[in-house]
Subunit: 392 residues, 2 copies
Amino acid sequence: MAITSFNPPVRTLMGPGPSDVHPRVTGAMARPTIGHLDPAFVGMMDEVKTMLQYAFQTKNQLTIPVSAPGSAGMETTFQNLLERGDKAIVCQNGVFGGRMKEVVERCGATAIMVEDDWGKPVDPDKLEEALKANPDAKVVAFVHAETSTGVQSDARLLCEIARRFDCLTIVDAVTSLGGTPIRVDEWKIDAIYSGTQKCLSCTPGLSPVSFSDRAVDVIKARTHPVQSWFLDLNLVMGYWGSGQAKRAYHHTAPINSLYALHEALVLLQEEGLENAWARHEMNHRALRAGLEAMGLSFLVAEDYRLPQLNAVNIPEGVDEAAVRNKLLSDYSLEIGAGLGTLAGKVWRIGLMGHTSDMKNVMYCLGALEAVLMEMNAPIETGAITAAQQAVA
Amino acid sequence: MAITSFNPPVRTLMGPGPSDVHPRVTGAMARPTIGHLDPAFVGMMDEVKTMLQYAFQTKNQLTIPVSAPGSAGMETTFQNLLERGDKAIVCQNGVFGGRMKEVVERCGATAIMVEDDWGKPVDPDKLEEALKANPDAKVVAFVHAETSTGVQSDARLLCEIARRFDCLTIVDAVTSLGGTPIRVDEWKIDAIYSGTQKCLSCTPGLSPVSFSDRAVDVIKARTHPVQSWFLDLNLVMGYWGSGQAKRAYHHTAPINSLYALHEALVLLQEEGLENAWARHEMNHRALRAGLEAMGLSFLVAEDYRLPQLNAVNIPEGVDEAAVRNKLLSDYSLEIGAGLGTLAGKVWRIGLMGHTSDMKNVMYCLGALEAVLMEMNAPIETGAITAAQQAVA
């Protein structure tokens, strides 16, 4: 039987990503493909770099999108900065710190783990102790915004501590970029990676990264080549350039995906970064008020909560998967399940990028209330009114 | 100054890839993004696998698109099949065999090189000699269709020889898949990778791969983990599945790029693989007749020429870059430069996928004739008539 064209359902994406994509972004993606060395394309690449510098708040020359998803961005930072035998301190307070450990070890390096409970931020004192105990550590790595728990760590402070011990820093900003403040230069971050499918509200598949000059010097001075030819920044820099006119072919860039990122960054620039942060904060306030009015509670303490990713404790006796399935089938609304040790314990409700909109807050609260009522869960009514009042 | 939306020029892409993308493919790419674990998306993934099996002519369960361009597909095959200390025989007759060597060495393995002149196919006798001299070799790797030269090697014979010596085979089919016959099962290929932006006429950014059961057994029995977490097929298989119902999250798939690949494969299925091969062959015949009528010659001997990629010797005294620049600026027509040792010596004219069309053959011949005439190059007229007669 012949397979025919795929027409996806129209969803409201309120999980941990991908988020809803602005129609201008999918529209840009459908524009005619041109060559990866076409002068017109090279001009667009320069604009993408400039707008990524704005999003990351940096002047770093090496600020580019890696031609693969966020996990490849993670590998790009570790594989380029670490050599076999190096030591890295990895702070773990969720799934993605654990992935960092895996990546460090696959580089032939040692990972010294600094562990905190899932749902708690990284403890700066523990990091400092680990640095004192490991004066030969080369890198400190942590997740700014843990997508698995919805917790935010104090990136500025953690980077300051690492720098006192002369360590390079690697920061996972997959879920934070564009949704919550990141200031790469001010916080003196050495290497940072993100994804396009979260608060930038672009289609998934690319990973914006940025490296300080100090980090670039380390990459250029390596004694052994980077394990991955594809992710070797010494080669990638020849294509993405840093000042020089001529671009050398490395790999064929994902042309149309880069059109989409360009448009997503134009949208961010039009709105203004501070306004985008404020919008994420405001819609979070509304959602929080609604959920609390319903009688639901958050996994993460208020001070460390990410506005764009809300981990909500599942009320006792509720079949969490049945709720998600019903939201998807009856409301075409996607919310996220718990990941790792939090599987079955929380829902993750995303308000990222284009999804972070009062209409979606209302829709989600209304649908969730209806589904939970139908299942006889012990919840209160009045969520939508509470949400509206919270931002009135 | 604010950066505004990017509107690319409309090109005719007759270089070594990307090729022109069918409007149905870019249209599919613009469809609404859904989640990477959405049941609707998982259904689409299964269809992509089925249609890739058709394109590769295989029943291999592990037939999937890697979420990154062809060079990441290359790394996927080598990194998963090789461990530190292993030995691989790499046949080089162009740029991409050289890249294979780089990748082998970055895996901590040894590359035994079998070298042939650029523009010549891989010599089966030389491979056999190398296998006799290296009975401990684990892998034989070669490029089926060398994008840098336009030459085709005898993949069936090379695989047969490798198998006699009990070696796994890795085949680069970046430029061949969909344009010229590949029969993975019949030829007993163990690992093969391709790109989406060549004869599949999809946007760049994904790399279809396929692994025999024998290769999968080797991957499952590794003593050390794959260097790259992102490309580790033991993990990727959990997401792309092989029979089991439940998909485990690994990385966020490039959703919209996969819509595009799905549509490109539906188009291939509608046309029929044999018809696509025949179309590539026919349009090559027309182009060849036109170029020869002009007095131009080919780099590669007729028997080994790829129909989809034509390496044309640059006539004496002609400024080859000026010709390409003029074709791009005056005709919005992209043809490719020479790569590596062939830089400045050949043009590469692609007739891949949706680009492989009689209208494009005519357009290219007409534009090239006009530009060369204008530059007083020593060429004959009558190219278009010759092209038409060749396929009449």
